[in-house]
């Protein structure tokens, strides 16, 4: 029902309010499977020429890993409405679990266990904080993240007392006996994983869960009286998003070969937020766009490397204030303008640029 409102452009009373939060995601038709293919093809074409260049391809790999984490953040934060400052911590949980289990059990099993551990922890956290709203959830998630980083830094299992939580020499990913040893090979592996993640996410976007989540965000009282448990959809989405975070952590650990607790601190979660908001919080594609944009930004900022933190934080501030719909929102707005002009008539009323 909400979906059809969106398509015809009649403003449901709740839509305006939700739109003010950052814009509702667009309707997901079947054509979004095509979008997945296009996005993957673009990345593949851009990356294929660079697989020989160790440095360039490692930037691609970082962006692919970050995309998985920010798509997860989109589900937890934008759809689920949960302030997931724990996203970097879940990356750490995935990274450490998988790195520790791989030598004995192999990559696939270790990665699987890592995802299950993260999913269980995420569900427990969401369950524990199920009544905590907005800021309270944010603060609880930050407390969880701080605990996780302290665990990485101090636990014997994560080489805390001896190595400060640094793990070295993590094996590159290997599936069914084939090892993705070079950065170029890892690129294709990461691209395949991102493809699976995007397909799964489109499935989820087309499922009733998304419609429930949107309804919960827009008109919580009404959804409750219609038999939708607002907490359940939020908890499910948070768990899915955090598990994607853990998957990103697994990918990061095995493609870099080394991990340290600093890579999973709250500040890193803020960077993931920056990616999502820059790319456009309105859809999962925003996560991918933002991840690629922000991974390349330092390449251009290299002359002013020391200013990185300042630039990033001011960029985040400016994005929130000036471009609440990010890159994808801006593109959609332009497309709408062009379509509007071609029709030469009335606007369809769909304002993606709030």
């Amino acid at each position: 029902m909400l979906a059809s409102d969106r398509r015809t452009g009649t403003a449901a009373p709740g839509r305006r309010r939700a739109a003010a939060v950052g814009g509702l995601p667009p309707v997901y038709g079947r054509r979004h499977y095509l979008t997945v293919a296009v996005v993957l093809a673009v990345i593949a074409l851009a990356g294929a020429g660079n697989t020989g260049n160790m440095y360039q391809i490692s930037v691609f790999n970082t962006a692919l890993t970050a995309s998985v984490a920010t798509v997860g953040l989109y589900f937890a934060y934008q759809l689920g409405g949960m302030f997931a400052f724990s996203q970097a911590a879940f990356m750490g949980i995935g990274a450490y679990t998988s790195a520790i289990l791989t030598p004995e059990h192999g990559f696939v099993f270790a990665a699987g266990v890592a995802l299950i551990v993260a999913a269980v922890l995420a569900y427990l956290l969401a369950f524990l904080l199920r009544d905590a709203k907005h800021m309270y959830f944010a603060i609880g998630a930050m407390a969880f993240a701080e605990i996780a980083v302290l665990v990485f830094r101090n636990w014997e299992v994560t080489a805390g007392p001896t190595g400060g939580g640094m793990l070295y020499g993590i094996a590159p990913p290997s599936v069914a006996g084939y090892e993705f040893a070079t950065s170029g090979q890892i690129f294709w592996f990461l691209l395949a994983v991102l493809g699976v993640v995007l397909l799964l996410s489109v499935l989820l976007e087309r499922s009733p869960l998304r419609r429930h989540a949107l309804a919960v965000k827009a008109i919580p009282q009404v959804t409750e009286s219609n038999g939708i448990d607002p907490r359940r959809s939020a908890m499910t989405l948070f768990t899915y998003g955090s598990t994607l975070g853990a998957l990103a952590g697994v990918l990061q650990a095995h493609s870099l070969g080394t991990i340290a607790p600093e890579a999973f601190e709250v500040g890193v979660a803020i960077n993931l937020y920056l990616m999502l908001l820059l790319g456009g919080v309105g859809s999962m594609w925003g996560g991918v766009a933002g991840a690629f944009f922000l991974t390349w930004l330092p390449e251009f900022l290299r002359p002013v490397k020391e200013y990185e933190t300042v630039v990033y934080s001011l960029l985040l501030l400016a994005t929130i204030v000036l471009f609440p719909n990010g890159i994808v929102g801006g593109v959609a707005w332009l497309a709408e303008k062009v379509r509007h002009r071609r029709r030469g008539g009335r606007s369809s009323g769909v304002t993606t640029h709030a």
Partner: protein
């Protein structure tokens, strides 16, 4: 026994520092309705300002502390004008994110100004200690506790007895009604930003001699301050003070009796449990903040 007393005083010291950060957050929330997550950057900035004034300018420590607090009050005014004013009409979670980003901007500025290497700030009392019940207690700890007690007393007097305090309480009670009554919302917003920022700066300078100076030194104290504010129900000062002291004591006693390395885990775990099971705070009474 002497171990107990030493831990008690270091816990109270941390509690006092968390109280200052937390009360800054609470009065700002009451006067403007926003939760300021930039507070941790301000804690760090205050500490580095005092460090700069005492080492680079060569001022005596007490003067350096006072200079830092004064500059921080001005920073608060600037923050209100530049960062808060354009966000006034935004939804509460965007504001939270942007203040957090603002905090990291301060961290970045500190890194540019000095670097990320840890430094140490001296206390006006140096490393002197006094013997209390057989335990050597640093004079700096007593100094922190006294300063904090004075600040809390002054603040609660101002809050409960002055005209401005009544206006802020009216704003916290019902923003729209208060505005209609002609309460100067803008002026109060600037004043409380200055006050909260000065308190964060004071907390930073007092924290300097206890912990090392790093650009992100304010992050855990701010999170504990959020915890204290929640324990106190974002309301009465007494509850906030009790929450801050509770978290400080949990950190020190947990660290002292269970495990030093895991020291910070205990207050974070306590916070998590309180948000989960008693989100209205431990003391009931005032209604949960509308966040």
């Amino acid at each position: 026994m002497s171990n107990f007393v030493a831990l008690l005083f270091s816990g109270l010291t941390l509690g006092a520092i968390y109280t200052l950060v937390s009360l800054g957050i609470v009065i700002l929330y009451k006067a403007t309705g926003i939760v300021n997550a930039a507070q941790f950057g301000l804690v760090g900035l205050g500490a580095y300002l005092a460090f700069w004034a005492s080492t680079d300018l060569g001022l005596p420590l007490v003067a350096a502390y006072l200079l830092s607090i004064a500059v921080m009050a001005l920073v608060g005014v600037g923050l209100e004008r530049l960062a808060y004013a354009p966000l006034r009409s935004r939804p509460v979670d965007s504001v939270f994110l942007s203040t957090l980003a603002g905090g990291f901007a301060f961290v970045g500025l500190i890194v540019l100004w000095y670097d990320a290497e840890p430094r140490s700030l001296a206390s006006p009392f140096g490393l002197e200690t006094v013997e209390i019940l057989g335990a050597p207690v640093p004079k700096h700890s007593l100094f922190v506790i006294v300063v904090c007690a004075i600040a809390v007393a002054a603040l609660s007097w101002a809050f409960n007895r002055t005209r401005m305090g009544r206006q802020v309480r009216a704003l916290a009670f019902d923003r729209d009604a208060a505005r209609l009554q002609g309460i100067p919302v803008n002026r109060l917003s600037i004043i409380t930003f200055a006050l909260a920022s000065a308190m964060a700066g004071l907390a930073g300078t007092l924290l300097g001699p206890v912990a090392a100076l790093t650009p992100e030194m304010g992050l855990s104290p701010m999170l504990f301050a959020f915890g204290a504010a929640i324990i106190g129900g974002f309301g009465r000062f007494g509850g906030v003070v009790a929450g801050a002291v509770l978290l400080g004591l949990v950190e020190q006693f947990g660290g002292g009796y269970i495990s030093t390395n895991w020291r910070e885990v205990f207050p974070f775990a306590a916070m998590l449990l309180i948000i989960a099971f008693r989100p209205e705070g431990l003391f009931g009474g005032e209604a949960r903040a509308r966040l």
